[in-house]
Amino acid sequence: MRWLRKNLIGIVAVLVLVYLFIPIAVIMALSFNNPKGKFNLSWNEFSLDAWTDLCGVPGVCSSFVTSIEIGLVATLGATLLGTMISFALVRYRFRGRSTTNLLIFLPMATPEVVMGASLLALFLNMRLPLGIVTVTVAHVMFIISFVVVTVKARLQGMDPRLEEAARDLYANPRAVFRYVTFPLVLPGILGAALLGFSLSFDDFIISYFNAGTLVTFPIFIWGAAQRGIPVQVNALASLVFLVALAIVLGGQFLGHRRRKALENPKPILVDTLSRS
């Protein structure tokens, strides 16, 4: 009884973690399923078919590649733009700071459906053809804010004396940036990029409004849900999950060795989400 009382919170914590992983377990288990009928919703029999033939269903792999392409381009653009904004916010004085802050905060407080709808309204009014360009443009827009929040926190957390020390040690402004500022902010930028990519890759609502006939991976899943999601989708999603987990755990492991050096006890992605 005493033991239970002492460890109650630990038990609850573990149960919550288990709860978080139940759907993941289902997704992975069903990737080895050979479903009876077209809906892959309940277990029938073990099969490796989906894993040995990942592209076995028309459209699944092309939508997957489309999502990766959009994710890479949108992440690159948003990371660049967002990092520039962060430097301006932390390092420069300018007029209209509160408007700027509001414009960065609002996209994070706006329901996706509103952002999706409003962009569609704009594109329709401009008579712009919907497709990969409009989706990428939309993704850059909603990722920027997350990048700004992450990189800004990193910049603000940096000891200003480090840059002063560099100046004192004969580094001209360019060298200060190259040898001190940039290496120290880089983990924040990489974290922001990782977060940005995962947001873009997984986005459905905004993409769906602005995709026209373009099919991204989430849009493919949405469409397939009506007539049964192919097992390959489960396999691909499991793959993405495992790769992402490996990247983050790997980063953790590296981070563990560098963590003390950078005085950041939290994984960057967590840091990002918890600050937004």
């Binding site: 919170i9 630990g10 609850v12 914590a13 978080l20 992983f21 993941i24 289902v26 997704i27 069903l30 919703l41 733009l81 967002g82 932390v90 390092r91 420069y92 300018f94 802050n101 960065i104 905060f105 609002l106 407080a109 706006t110 329901p111 996706e112 459906v113 509103v114 952002m115 709808a117 409003s118 962009l119 309204a121 704009l122 009014n125 443009v137 827009m141 920027i144 200003p160 004396r161 995962s198 459905f204 609502i205 769906y208 409004f209 989430p218 899943i221 949405w222 849900a225 489960n234 499991s238 993405v240 999950f241 983050v248 953790q252 006890p265 939290k266 994984p267 967590v270 989400l273 918890s274």
Partner: protein
Amino acid sequence: MAAAVPQAGGQAPPASVVQRKSRTGYVLLFPGMAWLAVFFAIPLVTLFATSLQSPIEGRTGRYKPGLEIGNYASALSEYWPQFLRSFLYAGVATVLALAIAYPLAYFIAFRAGKWRSLMLVLVIAPSFASFLLRTYAWKTILADEGPITSTLNALHLLPDGRILNTWIAVIAGLTYNFLPFMILPLYAALEKIDPRLIEAASDLYASPQTAFRKVTWPLSMPGVVAGTLLTFIPAAGDYINAELLGSPKNRMIGNEIQTNFIEYRDYPTASALSFILMTIILVMVFTYIRRAGTEDLV
């Protein structure tokens, strides 16, 4: 926004961040802010303009500019149940998520020791699997013949005899999907609390319950506020959970915006609905932040 003010000859951090005043600042700011202006702010204006348009007779999906304020009245009178339902579902899901997330965040912040980083990774890891698929997986978990439904049915706890395609499934989905957004800010706030404060409280005759009520909970307030907002806002606008896990009786406002926009091509109604949703959410957010007294959240 803690702007760094240079301390006059101060001892501690001297002139922490020297903010320069130069054109470079504007150059850095411009491209990103222009992007946000063109693809976030202007679309909202367009959306507003669209919400006032009136139909062109005999041509579906074609509208002419106007000042049709009546769009708002008709949208509200037709869809007020969905608004109500959205905020109700999102509210319940937020409260549930808070109750589920707090113990985990508390444990990670105070008791996890060397497992802390691993547990944090585990909290975000589920987000790496597709949002749609995770929601879809709940269809399997909550299926009518599944263990959960049968157990609850055996106990006569389910009013409709099932979970799937009812409001219970929709709220369960919302709670699950936005849980990480609750856990992480809570953790961030709890982690900042010096455990000695809790020890000090118990040293000063506070029982564990009182210590929690008077010390831990108030100090974790910034996390509670951030977490509830980060859960409530996307939950209120969501339509995936209602679509995949609910029945037509559980449609939320997101469903109606999507359907009006994409299927009916009734852009003015969809725009009016979006605008009402956004306004309500923003008003709620700002009142909430103000009342919770954490205005530095933004």
